[in-house]
């Protein structure tokens, strides 16, 4: 069994197409989790004890259970309760919710890293709570959030193969299909590995560049 470059070249277009889906799923669910994380964090800091309790319990539960199981739950149990989603929608929602809970923790720690006096000073100067958050607190949270969000982006990217279990046609799914139809697993899996490595290095590099851009001097 040797690496057949002709065959590798032959299957490259199929894998490139699958890579598009992988990237699409990653980017969309990353955007979802950035917003969702903010929402969960906001609910957790709610003044109503019940709301914050329930949200933090939910967040802990999601972070304590595997993504694959959550994907199965939404995909197989959802239709019983009238929640019919295509595989890719399921994937987006599951990944989005899963990483929202992680992102909410990131926001929380970033908020904790901002000096409390900043908020008090801004409020004392007569800024409204929303303006305080938007103009004073948030810009100071970026340096903490960005590197961690960048590493979560890579994690999400590496979690997309889980969606192959519910027949999303992403890289891993297509690679194993090619493997089983041609009885050659060597080339597709190797190419997928290289693609994943390249793309996660790219994402890590991008996150480092942004990190340097927004660094507080």
């Amino acid at each position: 069994m040797t690496f057949n470059f002709g065959f590798a070249w032959h299957i490259l277009p199929m894998l490139a197409k699958a890579a598009e889906i992988t990237v699409f799923v990653t980017v969309v669910s990353f955007a979802l989790s950035l917003v969702g994380g903010l929402l969960i964090w906001w609910l957790r800091t709610s003044k109503i004890a019940l709301v914050s309790r329930v949200t933090s319990g939910f967040s802990d539960f999601i972070r304590g259970t595997p993504l694959l199981l959550q994907v199965f739950l939404i995909y197989y149990v959802g239709p019983r309760y009238g929640l019919v989603l295509s595989p890719i929608q399921t994937g987006l929602i599951a990944l989005g919710i899963h990483y929202s809970c992680y992102m909410s923790e990131v926001y929380r720690s970033a908020f904790g890293a901002v000096n409390r006096g900043q908020q008090e000073a801004a409020r004392a100067l007569g800024l409204s709570p929303w303006r305080t958050f938007q103009k004073v607190i948030l810009p100071q949270m970026y340096p903490v959030v960005v590197p961690i969000a960048g590493s979560y982006l890579v994690y999400m990217f590496k979690d997309t193969p889980i969606l192959s279990a519910i027949t999303v046609r992403e890289l891993m799914q297509v690679a194993s299909q090619i493997g089983s139809t041609n009885f050659r697993y060597m080339e597709p899996i190797t190419i997928v590995g290289i693609l994943f490595l390249a793309m996660s290095l790219l994402a890590a590099w991008a996150s480092r560049v942004i990190e340097r851009k927004i660094a507080v001097p």
Partner: protein, 153 residues
């Protein structure tokens, strides 16, 4: 791999893959832990005439161990959750059995609910144990954001 004449059972393959992958993450944690020990500790110990290996095992590692506890707890929970992926290569573990049962007896939210609760209980258990260890060894500081997110690459 079977093409190279190496046939592994699903379970062995899963253990190997997870072990190697998380071993790499673990190495990062250990590295960060060792780097956080001031150089002076090692230099002082060597200056006192202790053997290098002795310094490593009795001076540096005990200090690094305490620092490495919280990230290792996170890593362990991550590993616990990652074992569910091995269901895809038919390792008969919790997630695999869950989907098997639900395909045999009809899809039911309770089947999934039970196994999710089982996973949750296990991850709580891990945090409980490491939490006690942390108290035992005298650090109760909160995790810094850097420790919270393990570098993926």
């Amino acid at each position: 791999l079977p093409f190279f004449g190496i046939s592994l059972s699903p379970t062995i393959a899963a253990v190997l893959a997870l072990g190697l992958c998380f071993g790499a993450y673990g190495a990062e944690v250990v590295r960060a832990g060792m780097l956080s020990i001031p150089r002076g500790q090692r230099e002082a110990a060597l200056a006192l005439g202790l053997k290098p290996l002795y310094v490593l095992f009795f001076i540096e590692l005990p200090q690094a161990f305490v620092i490495m506890l919280p990230p290792f707890a996170n890593l362990l929970v991550l590993l616990l959750k990652s074992t569910s992926v091995t269901a895809l290569i038919t390792v008969p573990e919790l997630t695999f059995e869950t989907s098997a049962i639900s395909s045999n007896f009809g899809v039911n939210i309770f089947i999934f609910g039970y196994s999710m609760i089982a996973y949750y209980a296990m991850s709580r258990g891990i945090f409980a144990v490491t939490g006690t260890l942390e108290h035992r060894f005298g650090i109760s500081s909160r995790l810094t954001p850097k420790q919270m997110a393990l570098e993926p690459i």
